[in-house]
Amino acid sequence: MSTGGEAAPGSEVGAGGEVEAGGEVTAPEAEPSSEQVRRLRAPRTTVAVLVATVLLVGAGALLYDVISVRAGYPTRRWRARIADELATRHLDDLWVLVGAGAAVLLGGWLLWLAVAPGLGRWLPLRPHGDTGAAIDRAGIGHLLADRAAGLPGIDDLRIRISRRRVRVALTGTADPVSLQRQLRDELARVTLARPLRLDVRTVPGATPAANREAGVAG
């Protein structure tokens, strides 16, 4: 909800203005501006809520019990039990090893969440003025599929979009070079901050075409 601040794309007026000026002169080449638009970073709200809740409950219970023991009440059973287990189980005990393995996995996962940018399905666009934007990767796929849908000679089109490139697998008699030109025009219209590479290749997949011709002939 609030990523806010300087980290978000397009928050600087100067950066937006420069990009706009550069975009007017040479539309297809976005190289100078691509470094100025940063990747989106997920705020990690859900995981933070979970971790904070677990820590709060654990530390709160421990604090309550420590204070009550200092005030003269007996130790709660759960704390005595945990202290006893920790003091009697040795390091090569199966449950200790399982617990340690779980801690390693959980810790590594939390570290990964802290470092990895997240929001991988959103690709930043070049900002306009004070407005930064990002587009869904599936949305780019829809635009490309719709552009290709009007072209003749395409039996099947598989579009896979990663963060760096678009791979199009074409089945049919259409010319891959002209298809690539069409799709490149469509991609240029999106004005991504980091333009995607486009690979179009023909896959042999002869069976659908043969079936269709047979159906027409019969």
Binding site: A7, R41, G101, G132, H142
Partner: protein
């Protein structure tokens, strides 16, 4: 510091502590030091598989010192207050319910607009832009840095670059001038619908949902 930074730093710290503790116990329990021929220094904890995880002796090592209990209680209290603050920062609704609107020329008049009303005006303005199917807009107010976050769904074949330009010069600029703020940056999340029927079945459930501002 933004909330994203705080969350990532704290998650990283918790993850590091868990990872280090787990690796220490695993290294001791599987007797890795002997296998690898490493010779840890004498103060290194948890080196032998025959050792308990936390022995009664190490647990009660400083119990008799005068500083022990104040330190334990103080540390736990800091941890409780800190995690409570961290949790509250996630759940806090960002910003107040209404915003002051400048009324030049009418000295005695003070005007406030509900944040939701402003957001709805922005949503309506965005939805009437060309090629927009649905739009959701939120005003997030980090202290001193108000900004707009929008989620927009375009009709098939829509032009995302044109949408960004129209939104920037249209609804966003209008809101900024009516509120009299020096700047009002915005972030848009854009989706595009597909016209081709081949894949529509798979995405039908997703289409009905209102665009969500994250």
């Amino acid at each position: 510091m933004t909330r994203t930074t705080v969350n990532r730093v704290l998650l990283g710290v918790v993850g590091l502590v868990l990872l280090a503790a787990g690796v220490l116990v695993l290294a001791g329990g599987l007797d890795l030091y002997r296998w690898l021929g490493a010779d840890p220094p004498s103060w290194w904890p948890l080196t032998s598989p025959d050792q308990p995880v936390v022995s009664a002796r190490s647990r009660t090592r400083w119990v008799d010192s005068t500083w022990w209990w104040p330190t334990v209680i103080g540390g736990l209290a800091v941890l409780v207050v800190g995690t409570a603050w961290w949790l509250a920062a996630q759940l806090r609704r960002s910003g107040s319910a209404s915003i002051a609107v400048p009324t030049p020329g009418a000295g005695g008049l003070r005007l406030r607009v509900r944040t939701r009303a402003l957001e709805e005006a922005l949503e309506t303005g965005t939805a009437t832009l060309p090629e927009v199917e649905r739009a959701g807009v939120r005003l997030v107010r980090a202290p001193g840095h108000p900004r707009l976050r929008g989620a927009v769904r375009l009709t098939p074949g829509g032009d995302p670059a044109a949408l960004v330009e129209h939104f920037d010069t249209g609804p966003r600029a209008d809101a900024r001038t009516s509120l009299g703020w020096p700047e009002l940056p915005a972030d848009l999340r854009i989706r595009v619908l597909q016209a081709a029927p081949a894949e529509s079945r798979r995405h039908r459930g997703r289409r009905r949902r209102h665009p969500r501002v994250e």
